[in-house]
């Protein structure tokens, strides 16, 4: 209860909350005091001044009997608010009965009630109110009943939704099995839990009732003279709109203010309650950064083009940094000083735990990081084009046709509302100037190339008609619409089952070999990377910590982290009776990177120097790079412990 009050309190301390509370307090105060204070002045008839405009005596003028409109509006507050609250309570009680019927009356009758409520909800409240007004008769009493019952279905639906979610909980099921009566369950377990949202919605409903009541009175179906509420005053005022507009506008304003007061009050609390989770921005950032880390470190002098061999590099990255604003405004750097280059047809793998910054690196290279994220690099070249500059049409076309992306989750990476063929064809239409028909033909051809069976028919299907493996093939096919020089595959097989994984990897491999396409494969699975790639980049806490040929992974890995990753892979000889090996400790928190080596806290070799200075990525002259003060000591140990173990990769992905 105390926390609830605190939560409401904090919800109401927002600017909107304060304004709504003040407004509501004024309205309620008026409702109580106005008839007492100004009842006489509102009723006083001033015959010499009929239908007068505003004057010092009558701020808002007078009506056709010479009564002061301003005071009549103030005095009408009580009746308007009273009637609105009365009909709201009728609506809430009826809604509660309707909504809890499935629980109280058993499934069968409950179903019937729910069905009726569902049909009734489809009709707008005003229409229901009009219908009920016919039954209950014209007048204040009829209108209260009509508006109350008209609001009941939607409140009933709300209650039943809330109740249903509570009724499924374990403790309610337990109480039921223990033989606790239905009514008792309702009162003890269900109502306390649905009370809060119900109260909030009732407040909002009171605002709607107030407006609806004004509507009915305005139509002449509500309050009848000589009694008057705001709607009645409006009705009278509107007839004289030409001579005396204030007579209609002042009560109109009162209705709007009071309606807003109830509405905003409810909304403010609803929003306050709904926002119990941490800031949305923070959550999103955590996803993006995968929990990686930052701190603008000195740039290591790592070579950008190790052993390029033949011709120009397909991709050259130097000093790539990605930053996001942190929760308290400071910059967080989930990718720091990443440098590497790729030759034509080369397969490079990037491995690391969740949060090591590998996916962000891929997105940064592809220029797909959106604000508020920022990408900086000393060099970022694709086929000799500097990607750091804005994407003009020519550069967009180059990327669109030569730079292919394959994303992790094929289930969500296709637009669900468009046919697969169209989604592939779009590329050709945009960048290769094909018309719709040609683009479709090209799409079918590409689907065939990635071995999607019955490509002609499949191209006309929607993504949901494709299996996961098929979608990933289609996604690769999309990258082949142009003539790619580089495929960046970000965890392309993580969401697929094992047999399909292999097929997709083989497909990527075949494409690479056939067309000399470079492949940047991002994966948390060091085994897959070792099999598919020629070179492996190991990332930790946003940096590359080791860069070595894939066939030397098991024999020449020098960074303790790489070795830990390898040791964490189980194989056929792993003793099933022993616990799986893990890398001790946790990945680095993005917001505070340690001063020295980020891996020091989890490293068996760590000493004072590791904790003080971050080791640079050093080239050994043969294209192998490592960032570790103890690389040689680590390399001297046997590559893998006799007993290798683990769950996937230490602290597993996803």
């Amino acid at each position: 209860m105390a926390t609830r009050i605190r939560r409401w309190g904090s919800a109401l301390r927002t600017p909107v909350g304060v304004a709504a509370t003040l407004l509501l307090a004024v309205v309620l105060l008026m409702a109580v005091l106005a008839p007492v204070l100004w009842g006489d002045r509102a009723a006083a008839i001033d015959t010499p001044h009929l239908l007068n405009g505003p004057s010092s005596a009558h701020w808002a003028g007078t009506d056709n009997l010479g009564r002061d409109i301003f005071f009549r509006v103030l005095v009408a507050t009580r009746l308007s608010v009273e009637l609105a609250l009365l009909s709201t309570s009728i609506g809430v009680v009826t809604g509660l009965l309707l909504g809890t019927a499935p629980l109280l009356l058993g499934r069968r009758i409950g179903r019937l009630v729910t069905a009726v409520v569902n049909i009734a909800v489809a009709f707008p409240g005003l229409l229901l109110a009009l219908t009920f007004a016919v039954i209950f008769g014209v007048g204040a009493k009829g209108a209260v009943l009509a508006i109350g019952f008209a609001g009941a279905p939607s409140l009933g639906r709300l209650t039943s939704t809330l109740v249903a979610s509570i009724a499924e909980r374990d403790y309610v099921a337990a109480a039921r099995i223990a033989g606790v009566g239905r009514f008792r369950i309702l009162v003890r377990h269900v109502l306390p839990n649905v009370g809060e949202p119900l109260v909030v919605n009732s407040t909002i409903a009171a605002g709607s009732s107030l407006l609806a009541f004004a509507g009915l009175s305005f139509l002449g179906l509500g309050v009848q003279p000589p009694a008057y509420d705001w709607g009645r005053l409006l009705n009278e005022g509107l007839n004289a709109l030409y001579v005396h507009p204030l007579a209609a506008l002042v009560p109109g304003l009162a209705v709007v203010i009071a309606g807003l007061a109830f509405n905003l009050f409810g909304e403010a609390i609803a929003k306050g309650i709904g926002l119990r989770t941490p800031l949305v921005v923070g959550g999103r950032l955590a996803d993006l950064a995968e929990g990686a880390t930052g701190g603008d470190t000195a740039r290591p002098a790592g070579p950008a083009e190790p052993a390029t061999g033949r011709d120009h590099p397909v991709l050259a990255v130097e000093g790539l940094r990605v930053s996001f604003p942190g929760p308290s405004g400071e910059q967080i750097w989930p990718v720091r000083e990443v440098s590497f280059a790729m030759r034509r047809g080369e397969a490079v793998g990037v491995v690391g735990e969740s949060g090591s910054g590998k996916s962000l690196t891929a997105l940064a290279i592809a220029r797909l990081i959106e604000e508020p994220g920022r990408v900086r690099a000393d060099r970022l070249e694709f086929l000799g084009e500097d990607l750091r500059r804005g994407l003009d049409r020519a550069r967009r076309r180059l990327l669109g046709t030569s730079f292919a992306m394959v994303f992790q989750d094929p289930m969500t990476s296709f637009n669900p509302t468009k046919r697969i063929g169209r989604q592939l064809g779009e590329v050709a239409q945009e960048h290769q100037g094909m018309n719709r028909g040609l683009a479709m033909a090209r799409a079918v051809d590409r689907l065939r190339a990635v071995r999607v069976p019955a490509a002609q028919r499949r191209a006309r299907q929607f993504p949901h008609e494709f299996s996961g493996g098929m979608r990933q093939r289609a996604m690769i096919g999309m990258g082949l619409m142009g003539s790619p020089a580089l495929i960046v595959a970000d965890e392309p097989t993580t969401a697929l089952d094992v047999t399909v994984q292999r097929q997709v990897l083989r497909l990527l491999e075949n494409i690479r070999r056939a067309d000399d396409v470079a492949l940047l494969l991002i994966s948390h699975d060091i085994t897959v990377v070792g099999q598919v790639c020629e070179r492996v980049l190991v990332m930790y806490a946003g940096r590359i910590v080791e860069d070595l040929p894939a066939d030397e992974l098991h024999t020449r890995a020098r960074h303790p982290y790489t070795r830990a990753l390898l040791a964490a892979v189980p194989d056929m000889e792993t003793d099933r009776d022993r616990p799986l090996a893990v890398i001790p400790g946790r990945p680095v928190d993005p917001a505070n990177t340690p001063v020295g080596c980020a891996f020091a806290a989890r490293c068996a070799f760590a000493d004072e120097r590791c904790r003080r200075d971050d080791p640079e990525l050093v080239d050994d002259g043969n294209g192998r790079r490592v960032a570790c003060w103890h690389a040689d000591e680590a390399a001297a140990l046997p590559v893998l412990p006799v007993q290798r173990e683990i769950d996937e990769v230490g602290v597993g992905e996803r």
Binding site: V16, V116, I119, A122, F123, P124, G125, L126, L127, L130, T131, V134, G137, V138, G207, G215, F218, L219, G220, L221, L234, L241, Y242, P245, A248, L249, G252, V256, G259, L260, N263, V281, R284, L368, E370, P372, L391, R396, R397, L399, G400, M405, F407, D409, T412, S413, F414, N415, P416, T417, K418, Q423, E426, V427, E430, H431, F462, H464, M475, M478
Partner: protein, 330 residues
């Protein structure tokens, strides 16, 4: 023999087709709802406490007249017989006569319906035409926490506008544009210019609500993986937003728009009374006040069936826009 088997197979295939199943399910629900509306309209008259004929004719009417009128309306028959007659008459298109004017109810409705229909249709279209571009633009401008002040201004303005009932907007519009500026006619249905104020008065509130929903939906769609895919295809921003984001945000928007359309049709009742618009809305109010129950019954029936029709259309459009939901449900 083989053809019979083939036929059975085709039938089964048809029955398994998700679209067919959707149609059957949706049509079944429509039938039930229509029955409920018709029955509700029938019961409405019978739930009125006391004698509706006496109430309609007034306390001073002679007993003979009341009895004759009761007999004429068949109110002396047992309820089930009245219900049967009512259903039979409905099927034959006989909807009774107005106690006030003596005109057939169907004729009154036929005269008044087009005016209301036009009003609602134009207002709905106007609301969509305003809200979709505004909501989409605001989503693009404020995505990822950009331009906070613009976001705050937009949300608070739309909240306030949406909270003002349409008849007050109508009254304000009449005052500003009709009375003060004298630009447009203030009441009744005459030339095209007479449509402006009522349509705007009806459309503004729903447009504000819809624009907010378009914005919120688009914001969440812009975070989707397939938008990243579209950007990875290096499509121009315009295409990413219009071709990939908009259709996906429209499904939820249309659902809400459908709900709003119902409210909008109901809103015609109030707006017609502000503008003295010769539609169903002003007629039903006059008839309720005059206790002209056959007319009230007829109009309630028309409004109710219209709501069902609107919901049906929304569901079908949704199914076409988002085939997944159809499949999932069936």
């Amino acid at each position: 023999m083989t053809s019979a088997i083939a036929e059975v197979r085709t039938l089964r295939a048809v029955a398994d087709n998700p679209w067919v199943r959707f149609a059957v399910r949706r049509f079944g629900r429509l039938l039930v709802s229509v029955w409920v509306v018709i029955t509700a309209a029938f019961l409405m008259i019978h739930l009125i406490p006391g004698d509706p004929v006496r109430a309609a004719l007034g306390a001073t009417a002679p007993v003979e007249l009341v009895n004759a009128r009761r007999a004429q309306l068949g109110l002396n028959d047992p309820l089930w017989l009245q219900y049967t007659h009512y259903l039979r008459d409905l099927v034959h298109g006989r909807t009774g006569t107005s106690t006030l004017s003596g005109l057939p109810v169907s004729q009154i409705i036929g005269d008044r319906l087009p005016a209301t229909f036009e009003l609602a249709l134009y207002a709905f279209l106007l609301a969509i035409v305003i809200s979709v571009p505004v909501g989409l633009t605001m989503a693009v401008l404020t995505r990822g926490g950009r331009r906070r002040p613009a976001e705050l201004a937009f949300t608070s303005t739309s909240v306030v506008i949406a909270a003002v009932p349409e008849f007050l907007i109508g009254a304000a519009l009449v005052y500003v544009f009709g009375v003060s500026l004298g630009w447009v006619p203030v009441a009744s249905r005459s030339g095209p210019s007479s449509y402006i104020l009522p349509v705007v008065a009806l459309a503004i509130g729903p447009a504000a609500v819809l624009a907010r929903i378009v914005r919120v939906e688009t914001l969440s769609v812009l975070q989707a993986d397939y938008i990243r895919t579209a950007r990875a295809k290096r499509l121009p921003d315009r295409q990413v937003y219009l071709r990939h984001a908009l259709p996906n945000s429209l499904t939820a928007t249309l659902t809400v728009a459908g709900l709003l359309l119902g409210g909008l049709v109901a809103g015609t009742v109030l707006v017609e009374n502000v503008f003295a618009w010769p539609g169903l809305g002003s007629t039903i109010v006059q008839s309720i006040l005059a206790k002209d129950y056959p007319v009230v019954q007829g109009i309630v029936l028309v409004y109710g069936l219209n709501m069902l029709l609107i919901n049906l259309i929304v569901d079908v459009v949704l199914a076409l826009l988002d085939p997944r939901s159809t499949i999932r449900e069936s």
